[in-house]
Amino acid sequence: MISLDVLIAGLATGSIYGLLALGYHITFVVSNTVNFSLGATLMFGAVLFYELHTRIGLDIFLAVPLVLLMSGLLGIIVERFFVRPFCQNNSVSWLLSTIAFGIILENIVRFTFGQEPRSVPMPSIAEPIRIFNAGIYPIEFIIPAVGISVALILWLLSKKTIVGRALLAAAQNRDAAILQGINVKKLIILAYVVSTALAGLAGMLIAPKLNVSAGMGTLIGLKAFAAAIIGGILSAPGCLIAGIGYGVFESIVAAQLPSAFREILGFGLLIFILIFKPNGLFGKKGVYKV
């Protein structure tokens, strides 16, 4: 019998994975590249939020947009200096360079923010709500609500706005999109900005629950990528659903078994699914021109 708090906690963690998985998806569909520094960007968002809101005392309605803006700026930097130079030379070294950027960012934060974890006290994590004997923090409702809302907004934007439709077009057929006059280069930049802003948002959401530290993003980034692969990196709903599912699965495993099994079974699940569904659960086959 799975208790309500295990389920809700899993939904919350899963939504964080889902947001990052969406970030991986967005850049991959538009540019066939993945920003492996999203975990570090999540950490950056959390740390910046701590500095602006908790330490300096900036109002949350100012701190949140500022963090989103700065996280988005990181996307511009990553795309321009750590991805584009390699793509222009048809090299896959963007893989290693985005990992390197993540490591650099983590260590810059270690050096400036410090090594100790800090807490982000918020009303949403102050007192748990009691439902059927389970204690659930308000933030554990807020995170999935925000995560799913953001995903829905992105979906609506992609369907109803010109920029959104241009992104979809570029994702389906980049050459055709270029021929139609769509500025694919700008779309790639936009995709990176959206992906890092999503990571920054995820960082702000998880900060009160996790405590903020320089190393907080690495494992989350890795698991979110696993979720993106499980869901099918070419499918936005797949990435979100797989992220949430992965979080719930982890939470159930940790509740029933020693917590060391969480990683063993989580990544084991990834391999198992890929054996039977190589493109992920919701993924489509990629088209390779020969």
Binding site: D5, Q115, E116, P117, R118, S119, N211, Q256, S259
Partner: protein
């Protein structure tokens, strides 16, 4: 052969060649510290440094060691990582030529140094990490010494405290999943058997666990009426948050891992309910040594205005006494030779220290200077560890 005047004068300069060795290298004895200077337990490394620094200043003010040589501290950050700790210890011994290596808060790091210290024949002085097997290893000769608590003795102490103060009949333990947690798991089993106490269970939790409700629920269902907590600040804080989430008002008796960081900030409102073990408190009436150490700390670190500001005090206190004892051993050995210093530790005469008066603190049978009679029990008020009652 007859020398020209130039050659003759030049030859007078030859002896100056031997003065090219820096004067400082001849006049100093280095001691090393391998500890967590960063990460979750960064404050512990700083507190150890302060204790050692105050002791070193005092020793140097009185003329240093080995007939006038200045004692110098060389530090390396092990980042709570055993592999990094080993590299750091090797570098300190082989390159910096330290006479003694002092250790930090992390038992896994200290455990990984047992073989290194034996191989390089250099004494290790633990000032925090309490894993029983650090000093109770099967090395002969044994190079591991310690002025600190010992897990086995702390485990018995925690169970006795839970029994006496909280009338606990079925304690349950929450142990961090690493060698330190394992050491205490064994210690608690042994102590429970000796004290005729039935443990409700022993649960493990990982350092990256966001929530430990599952483990705590299993203990609660098994009838646990107190929690024995073993873990460092960050991870133990999550246990307290989980207890808050479960609304389970159970007494918590902890090992001292929680005193190495910002427990009050990370653990939520229940942080002050945790009783934990210490070897010393700078609160209350101090001995003359205590007053002297506080005065020196205030002088060296102006942000320290009182006991309240001495963060992670056990590291400072243990390190102070340990440095004094190490200096006594170095002097007794008459050299910086590791084997001689090791033997000299057994011959330290009486020493009126901060924590207690040491009488033959080390022997081949016990290389731990402190016993459970030296422990005190405290809880946090803010970030200050204040004795309970």
């Amino acid at each position: 052969m007859k020398l020209t005047p130039t050659q003759y004068l030049g030859s007078l300069l030859l002896p100056l060649m031997f003065l090219s060795v820096p004067a400082s290298a001849q006049e100093q004895v280095k001691i090393g510290l391998v500890a967590a200077l960063s990460g979750d337990s960064a404050l512990s490394g700083e507190s150890i440094t302060r204790g050692m620094t105050v002791a070193i200043d005092e020793i140097n003010a009185k003329g240093g060691v080995l007939g006038g040589k200045k004692l110098v501290l060389v530090r390396r950050d092990d980042e709570s990582n055993p592999a990094k700790g080993q590299l750091a210890a090797r570098e300190l011994i082989e390159k910096e030529k330290v006479a003694v290596v002092f250790g930090g808060i992390d038992t896994p790091v200290s455990m990984s140094l047992i073989n290194v210290m034996s191989e390089l024949k250099t004494p290790y002085m633990g000032v925090w990490a309490a894993g029983t097997a650090i000093t109770n290893n099967n090395k002969n000769p044994n190079y591991m010494f310690r002025v600190s608590a010992v897990d086995e003795r702390v485990d018995a102490g925690m169970l006795k405290y839970a029994q006496d103060k909280f009338k606990s009949k079925r304690p349950g333990s929450m142990l961090v999943n690493n060698p330190w947690g394992d050491s205490n798991m064994k210690g608690l089993e042994k102590a429970a058997a000796a004290l005729n106490i039935t443990l409700a269970g022993q649960e493990k939790y990982n350092t990256n666990d966001m929530d430990t409700t599952a483990q705590l629920t299993r203990l609660k269902n098994a009838g646990a009426d107190s929690i024995i907590l073993v873990g460092n600040t960050g991870v133990a804080a999550q246990v307290m948050k989980s207890l808050e989430r479960m609304n389970w008002n159970v007494p918590v008796v902890s090992h001292w891992g929680i005193s190495g960081g910002r427990f009050d900030e990370l653990a939520g409102p229940r942080y002050k309910d945790v009783v934990f073990v210490q070897t010393y408190s700078f609160f209350g009436k101090q001995s003359p040594v205590g007053e002297k150490v506080i005065a020196e700390l205030k002088k060296r670190y102006p942000e320290i205005k009182g006991a309240n500001d001495i963060v992670a005090p056990v590291g400072t206190a243990n390190a102070y006494d340990a440095t004094m004892l190490a200096a006594l051993a170095i002097n007794k050995a008459g050299s910086t030779n590791g084997e001689k210093i090791r033997e000299a530790f057994y011959e330290i005469p009486e020493y009126k220290g901060l924590i207690k008066t040491y009488k033959k603190p080390f022997s081949a049978e016990s290389q731990d200077a402190l016993t459970d009679r030296d422990y005190i029990w405290v809880h946090f008020v803010g970030n200050a560890a204040v004795p309970v009652n």
